[in-house]
Each structure stands twice: as C-alpha cells, then as structure tokens.
C-alpha cells in the first residue's frame, strides 16, 4: 500500500495544511509519496523532501500548473503511474476544488474532511455542520480523501531526506483559464494555523471598527477572523469567514467579539482549546461554548483589553 499526498503550495512555499495531511497519511499503512504539481516549484519539492514521514517526492512542473486550476491538477494526478491505495489532499479550497474530479474519474466515492483515521478503510468525519460525527467505512478499492488540517498535528518540517523524482505534468485543459486573483495581504499569521484568533461579528457595526480587533490581534500575535454575518455585511473580505463553509480553525485561544454564535459559526471554531466570548447579550449562544464569557459592550471591553495586555 502507498499513499499519495497532493501538496498545497504557492510555488514557493509548502502550505502548513500539507504537513497536517502528511501526518494523516502516516496513520495509514505503507509509504507516503508527495506530489508537488506546479510551476517553478523546485523549492517546494525540496521542502516536502525534508518533511518527516515523506518517503518520496514527485515533482510535476508545467507553466499551466502555476495557478493549480482543478482541471489541470486532475490531469497531472491522473498522469501518475504509481499504484496508490490512498490519495489525500487538505480539505482547503484547493483540495475541495480538485479532489472530487479525481475521485469521479477513478470511480471512487470520496471521503471528505476526515478528522480521524480509524483504520486503512474507516474514518471519522463531521456532518451537519459538526453537530454529528459519522464513522464511515469505504468499500472502494482506492480511497480518495480530504483531510481537515486542524484535526491532525503536523510532524517535523525538517530532518527528512526523501528523493525527488521529476514526473509527467499532464496537459492543459483549455476549457478553463486563469484570469486574476485578489489575495488579502496581511502581516499577521495565517487564519487557519494561527495560535490565537480574534474574530468579530455583526456586533462590530462596520468595517472601520475591525481596526480595533486588528490592534488587539497585533498585541496577541493573532490572526483576525469574522462570522458570516460580518462578511455578508461587507465589513471584511470573504477569506476572513470562520464557519461550516468558511475556514475551520482550532487555535489555542479564540476570542469571539460581538458574535452571537450561530451553529454554522460554532462548526468552524468549537475545537479551539480556549474560547473567550465578549458580547453584551448574555443570552447569546456563543456563551454556551465559551470557557470565559464577558457580558459587556465590546466597544468598552476591547479597548480595555488592549490596554491590559
């Protein structure tokens, strides 16, 4: 048995989610091979080769793989000749976008967003926005799986010395072409992997008020997130959204400010180690999952908190 992990990266750095996915792969029998498909991404392959638990790295390079469009990644993966018992990718928008295509072409029912490996064919995954946990056994001969990064602790990023092999990159699908990207630039830690997250909800009132949360985040070395309500209201961009259909986070400390705590939001953050809720409505459901709740007007509490840190 051999597992193929499809690396998520930006052509210069391996994303943290890939290390978590490698950790999930190591809980399966057999070797772990990492496929780095991209453009001018030798340095990514070198990082993957150093990662603990990696036995071999496949490097598939072509100019059309620069933006990792689903149709092209599908062709690059299908071009690989090895016989893989398991194919894994992170359950990020990268993995969610392309993995089902591979699964369908292999005639396999994908298992999405696993949170534990019970055996080589049985996995746990959340359903109904995390209100239930299903244990699912796959009877397909191959398993195609996306991995919830926060559920698997990453292994060491240094120390390994896997061989790197250049492989076929497939061919470009003219059906789909890249036009542009608008990426949020931030000096703060990545929301998905930050140790501390400060999130704001509808209670923030407007986008300008998020500056207050940014100041708080900078004091704590935190990332800034938001509830769906705050994103829908246009206070912050979509990539801030924490929740069932946004980002799943599980930091050491999650501070929810002016967030009521809809089920869909809780689904994205309730695995955080310590949760703090600041909300003036003492009936807000967020207090049911908070370790420390402060019933207070956020416009009074947040500046006080900034001063106290």
């Amino acid at each position: 048995m051999t597992t193929l992990v499809i690396a998520e990266h930006n052509n210069s750095e391996l994303q943290a989610s890939t290390y978590n996915t490698i950790a999930a792969a190591k809980q399966l029998s057999g070797e772990t091979v990492v496929l780095v498909a991209g453009h001018n991404c030798e340095s990514v392959a070198e990082q993957a080769a150093k990662a603990e638990g990696v036995d071999k790295v496949l490097l598939a390079q072509a100019d059309f793989l620069e933006h990792l469009l689903a149709e092209d990644v599908e062709k690059a993966v299908m071009a690989q000749e090895g016989d893989y018992s398991h194919i894994l990718a992170p359950a990020s928008t990268f993995g969610k976008n392309m993995m089902p295509r591979i699964s369908a072409l292999l005639d396999v029912q994908q298992i999405s967003d696993i949170i534990s490996v019970e055996s080589d064919d049985t996995f746990k995954r959340p359903v109904y926005a995390g209100n239930a946990i299903a244990t699912v056994k796959s009877n397909d001969s191959k398993k195609v799986i996306t991995v919830r990064a926060t559920a698997f602790d990453a292994l060491a990023t240094e120390g390994g010395s896997a061989a790197i092999e250049n492989v076929d990159a497939g061919s470009h699908t003219p059906l789909s072409n890249y036009v542009s990207e608008e990426l949020t630039k931030s000096e703060r830690p990545d929301l998905g992997t930050a140790k501390v997250v400060v999130s704001g909800g509808r209670g923030m009132g407007n986008g300008e008020n998020f500056e207050m949360l940014e100041t708080l985040a900078d004091k704590l070395g935190a990332a800034v997130g938001a509830s769906r309500a705050a994103v829908d209201a246009g206070f912050v961009p979509n990539d801030y959204q924490v929740g069932q259909t946004g980002k799943i986070v599980a930091p050491e400390l999650y501070i929810a400010v002016g967030i009521s705590g809809a089920i869909q939001h809780l689904a994205g953050m309730k695995d955080s180690k310590v949760i703090v809720a600041i909300n003036k409505d003492e009936e807000a459901p967020i207090f049911q999952v908070a370790d420390y709740g402060l019933v207070e007007d956020l416009f009074k509490a947040v500046p006080e908190l900034i001063d106290a840190l």
């Binding site: 029912q109 209100n131 059906l175 789909s176 990207e181 990426l183 949020t184 979509n238 990539d239 420390y292």
Partner: protein
C-alpha cells in the same frame, strides 16, 4: 441558453439536528425539510441569468423521494420553468448523484449546470466537481460572481486567500458560494403559478446508472461536548484567567 439547476432537499438549516439514540443516523421523522440553502442560491442565479436575457430556460432537477416534489415546486415558484424528479427512496452518495445528473445533462443538453457548493447535511462538497469531471467540462466552484459573454463565463471564486477569477468555455459547471446573491422569496401568485408548471418524473431505475453505495456509515454520534465555562465580571479578571488559569497568553 438552457440552464440546469440541481437541488437537494435537506433538513432545514434552522433545525437543531439530533443524533438517533441507536447511533444509526440523525432524526428525520417529523423534522422540517427545505431546499438546501446553497441550492436556493443556485436557483436564484439561474433565474437572474434568465431575467437578464442570458438564459432562455431554467430546468430544476432533484433526486429523491416523492416529497422532493415540494422542493421542486419551490424552485418553480422562484422562477424555474420546468422540473424533473428522478425518483428513488435510496439515499444516493455524491458519486451516484453526479452519474445520474450526467444522464439528465445528456437528455436536456444545458449549456450550464448550476449547483450549490455543498449540502448542509452531508457537507461533502463533491457533486458539482464530480459532474464536471464525468462530463469533461470546466468548473467554477464556490462562485461569488458569474458573468456570461460570447459563449464563455467568467467566474469569481471564493478561495482561502481571497478571490480568484477564471474564464470557462461553455458548457460548464458552476457551484455557488454564499455571497453570489440573496435568494428572493416566492410570491403567492408565483407559488400558484408554479403548480401548473411541468414537473416530470423519471424512475431512477430507468436511467440505467449504477448507484450502489460505496461507503457504509458505521455509526453517527454526538460530537464531544464542551464543558460549560464561567462568566467573568471584568476585563482584568479575564486577563488574569487567561494568564494564570488557561495559560494561553
């Protein structure tokens, strides 16, 4: 241009889901069912494309039991022209659903298939992408903006780092994210009108698709509960607890 919209009937988003005591699944008896919210966004987008003159016909399709007719009638009331129910009492997995939809696409020959990016029951986020691969079509997933021009569609996608725009040749598959649009409410006259719109039924068996399940659900359990926390009175007390009790700052 004809648009096919695939919709799913799920437990209503506002219902608190309960796990069955025997851990075989979640309680569905006497539970309010509705159209999956992402599918509503897909119907709305198709109807808007028709209102703009981009689409000429909107066909809604659902796979499921007799009650799915209600969900399809909702789609008709929102502005779809015609509905197709592929009837089965089985719960199909996304791979099987995408194979069935491929058959429907071959019959209906739409230029665009719109679907929700995921259903809020299984949370799989697979069907649109699988359908795209089986048809050999391009896909624009997690769409927050869709424009159609000259036989192509430009799709802005919500991705982890922000937004990405791609251009797809038609026909193509598009899956909707939350901010693509805000679905309208069906008006009473439109609900009445929807009752007279065509709703065809096809028996799943007649499509000749292998829809056998590939996975078994061994158990469904409640998630681990978080123990009830404490309320603090002041910011100073909060900072003290975080420093000295939780030791996270």
């Amino acid at each position: 241009m004809k648009i096919l919209v695939a919709i799913k009937r799920v437990i209503d988003a506002n219902v608190k889901v309960r796990v069955k005591p025997d851990n075989s699944g979640v309680e569905t008896a006497n539970v309010k069912m509705s159209m999956n919210p992402f599918c509503e966004i897909a119907v709305e987008e198709a109807v808007r494309l028709k209102e703009k003159g981009v689409a000429s016909e909107v066909v809604a399709v659902s796979i499921g039991n007799q009650q799915c007719q209600e969900t399809l009638r909702t789609a008709l009331a929102l502005g779809a022209d015609k509905a197709i129910l592929v009837k089965t009492d089985d719960q199909l997995e996304p791979l099987a659903v995408s194979k069935v939809l491929k058959k429907v696409v071959e019959q209906e020959e739409p230029q665009m298939v719109l679907l929700g990016k995921q259903s809020i029951d299984g949370d799989n986020n697979q069907t649109g992408q699988m359908l795209g691969a089986l048809l050999g079509w391009g896909q624009g997933t997690f769409a927050s903006e869709v424009e159609v021009e000259d036989g192509k569609t430009k799709v802005t996608r919500e991705i982890d780092g922000g937004l990405q725009t791609i251009e797809l040749s038609l026909p193509a598959v598009i899956t909707t994210d939350l901010r693509l649009n805000e679905p309208r409410f069906a008006s009473l006259p439109n609900i009445m009108k929807a009752k007279r719109k065509p709703l065809d039924e096809i028996a799943l068996a007649d499509l000749g698709v292998d829809t056998a399940n590939r996975t078994e659900t061994l158990s469904v359990e409640n998630p681990p509960e978080r123990s009830e926390g404490v309320k603090v009175e002041t910011v100073a007390e909060l900072v003290d607890k975080l420093k000295n009790e939780a030791k996270v700052i």
